[in-house]
Amino acid sequence: MRREATALARAVRSGETTAAAAVEESLARIAEVMAGELHAFLSVREDAAREEATEVDRRVAAEPAAALPLAGVPVAVKDNIAVAGDRLDPPHGAATTCGSKLLEPYVSPFDATAIRRLRRAGAIVVAKTNLDEFAMGSSTENSAFGPTLNPHDRGRVAGGSSGGSAAAVATGCVPIALGSETGGSVRQPAAFCGVVGVKPTYGRVSRFGLVAFGSSFDQIGTLARTVEDAAQLLAVIAGVDSHDETSVPDPVEDWVAGLDAWDPRGLRIGWPVEYFGEGLDPRIRSACETARDRLTAAGADVVEVSLPHASYGIAVYYVVAIAEASSNLARYDGVRYGFRAPAPTHATLQDLYFRTRAAFGAEVKRRIMLGTYVLSAGYYEAFYGKGTAVRARIRADFDAAWERVDALLSPTTPTPAFRIGEKVEDPLEMYLNDVYTVSANLAGIPAISIPYGRVPARVGGGADRPALPIGIQIMGPALAEKRLFRIARFLEREGGKGGAADGSER
């Protein structure tokens, strides 16, 4: 798609173009990308999207502009977010699969709160995107329907678990997309695919309709080509919801207004030393240094800070989030919806459970096993109890940092996108890829990853094509999204370049 979401919505509202035309352009680009077998999409809502576009064009004539901030904007949605379909009406029967065989015949009878708000704002869901099964993974290789390839290098992963949404935006199929995070699952694929990815404060966006993985971590996040679009999309879906007790009541400010006018004078930017240690690709470190220097040049102060418990983040995550996951996945039992294993006539109920749940993929089984183990009799205190206690320490580290700085600058990932299959044999190695992103999920704070240049696939391999995008991350205190968007926009303006994957620089 040529235009950014905010610009497109303006054009639709002014009558310069229509929602119908925007949806056609998006569907055409999706068809091209699908033909290229990147495998970013699990389903396309062709007929439904066209009908909805007609309706939006009607609304444009009838409603004030402020009611339609995303008028006619096509959106791609990660397939663990419920978009209502109708099983009995195939054109409107788009499934919500979570990338799992366990939900292969499942059609959600309701919209997620975020989807309801998107529709109200005039956006149109055109496609559901690929993901690691139940969002469990960092590469989208765990999708039951096959991996999503990185649009910049098909031999590499798109990242995960929101790999499909990141690839959909990077390839210009849609200007904006929804993903979800439990431990870096929006920011990491955004960094790998060269787009902006936002993980809001825990509770900013209702989780109603987001299929649960680690409930005390899960958040819907936004992906876009620009900071402004990511902010606009988040503003539309954010806000308290009576269907989610954990959604926060704090008002959603205007995150878009004044984005360009801001400058970093007086900003105290933190440099968390633990994030620049062993294992970090030096080129990503140097990208962070460039960003830091741009900020200081424009009047920000840089302060070194320590987050002493940061290195325990992955361990805590793999105790607490996985315990919650084992619980959240207990409902997939073949009784009320979704997949039930075919069984011989004399099968028992237990056969039904075991055979049905055998259809989970290896990573999901691994996490269910681990989560069940840490919650089981005799281990609870040592693992879950200890994990939540250390989690509180990690929060406290951040709270102490906010006494001294306004935001933290860090890498999003230790390396650019890795090769397909490179880490599947070593789950722990895969988990460690989330080392810089997972703390924000543990602490419930907002974080944003923006593309910040490209590097050759290998260190020192300057002549190699293609180059891979890298991302840098800004984290802030709870509810400080506005500040993060401003810093991110400043860096974007001052030369962050991820670039589109179709060859054109936009």
């Binding site: 793999y318 749940r357 055998a358 089984k365």
Partner: protein
């Protein structure tokens, strides 16, 4: 937690039983190794002194919890929910007989 965590094949089978996961013998062996390795990694938490709280989120309790009003708001069409079931017969969700 023990610094050295060894998980036996029987442990794996017991956990799989609790979680109702059917595992092949190969899977049992693979998970035995992987879980041991992950739990060993996770055991680094042992070295941190941190008090165990019932709910870590308890530190910053929300000032006013939101409730649902006791109002009946029925789902408009239970039939859509019946239609999602793998086996719905005579008004009931059906499963193989529970052996009691």
């Amino acid at each position: 937690m023990a610094a050295e965590i060894t998980i036996s094949a029987d442990d794996v089978r017991h956990i799989a039983g609790l979680a109702r996961l059917e595992l092949t013998d190969d899977e049992v062996e693979r998970f035995r190794g992987e879980l041991s390795k992950i739990l060993e990694y996770v055991a680094q938490l042992e070295s941190i002194e941190a008090a165990v709280d019932a709910k870590d989120a308890g530190a910053d309790l929300p000032p006013a919890r939101r409730f649902r009003k006791d109002r009946v708001e029925p789902w408009p069409d239970p039939g859509t929910l019946h239609a999602e079931a793998p086996d719905f017969a005579g008004g009931f969700f059906r499963v193989p007989r529970v052996v009691e």
